[in-house]
Symmetry: C2
Subunit: 228 residues, 2 copies
């Protein structure tokens, strides 16, 4: 890994654990594309071995490209009492972020597919002890979901911070797989006149719905209305 290059342009050099073994034509080694996907995604799926079986749970996350790890740091958070969180500390975990971009209607069942971008990050989960890094990570997680939100909120209380654990995973062992475009079919099926194509899929965020207990006459703040 060429550590002299800026982290965001360091190519993804797969290890044995992150090498894309199937569909290698879909493997992408541009670290910038990895960061873009991690910016676009909202939910990560964390995999951790709990006892004798793997558990996969959805969770919010954020990335600090300039975090303490050379290639950037991915942050997760959870209740200090969560079993999955305690099972992850200092253990090897897998964090996967997938964006579904389309449904691919091939001319045969075999050539049906999905368009997607998927990042797989494998690494030891570090429990973040440092108070400043923890607060920074929590702000990043709020702002990843709702950009600009954290600056409008009061500081977290000591009690809130004590109830929240933050995990960090280095963006070192990571792979990115991307599929885009239409189907790739057997010529005989194309000639037979079966319709082939794809249906783009995208996520829509609708206008903010105010909580029932808002004070009267409060408009939604601009940092939220501009997301819709």
């Amino acid at each position: 890994m060429t550590t002299a290059a800026p982290a965001s342009t360091t190519p993804l050099e797969p290890t044995e654990r992150t090498r894309v073994t199937r569909g290698r034509n879909r493997a992408v080694t541009d670290r910038q594309q990895l960061l873009e996907l991690l910016r676009d995604g909202l939910v990560a799926h964390l995999g951790v071995q709990v006892g004798d079986h793997p558990v996969v749970l959805p969770t919010a996350y954020a990335v600090d490209p300039d975090g303490p790890d050379a290639e950037g740091t991915l942050y997760l958070h959870g209740s200090v009492a969560a079993r999955w969180l305690r099972s992850s500390v200092d253990r090897c975990v897998c964090v996967t972020v997938t964006e579904l971009d389309g449904l691919v209607a091939g001319r045969s069942a075999f050539h049906h597919s999905m368009n997607y971008r998927s990042a797989v990050v494998i690494g030891a989960a570090r429990l973040v002890d440092d108070a400043a890094e923890r607060q920074h990570a929590l702000d990043l997680i709020v702002d990843h979901m709702l950009p600009g939100r954290s600056a409008t909120l009061r500081p977290s209380t000591r009690k809130e911070l004590a109830a929240t654990a933050v995990l960090a995973v280095a963006l070192r062992e990571a792979s990115l797989k991307v599929r885009a475009g239409g189907p790739v079919d057997e010529p005989s099926d194309v000639e037979a006149g079966v319709w082939g194509g794809h249906l783009p899929v995208r996520r829509v965020i609708d206008a903010p719905v105010p909580a029932a207990d808002n004070l009267p006459g409060m408009p939604a703040p601009a940092h939220l209305t501009r997301l819709a």
Copy 2:
């Protein structure tokens, strides 16, 4: 588990492995809601232990509520050469399907959240050997993505079937967690006049994009145009 009741109305009785330990108020034990989420979802995240670490990969799936397992069967497929697939056969895997429904803007960082529905299924992955069950599962996977599609396609060839492996996981050990609605905040933050609410999130499927190599003058079939 009361096997006399129809599978779709059997309550989800959590085992030690699928018990929701955090946010128990969000645990849902209605099996019908589990099936509805599995109908709505398009991508599953499969977790499997590969060597000394978990791997989480996105994958298409389908459910047969009347499958060979008493409470229904979840099917996955992949290339027979895929490492994750070989690592899953007869091993305990975790299949998680998550739908993101909203972003919850609380009045404090601590009370930010997401609205979601998430199903976690844990069980041994069975390699489907029976030719009829395999063909049925592959049709279900195509139709789960694009309802009505499989009936318009030629049968799979022997070569295509030989290249494709199908895994089955019983919908026995499953849990469902749901969050909906606005934030639940500290009264002092509500009184302080911070705006709280949520932003609904939904998936949109756009109109079919024809493949460049379609024969001239072919309209997209109705089973695809009606998805947009």
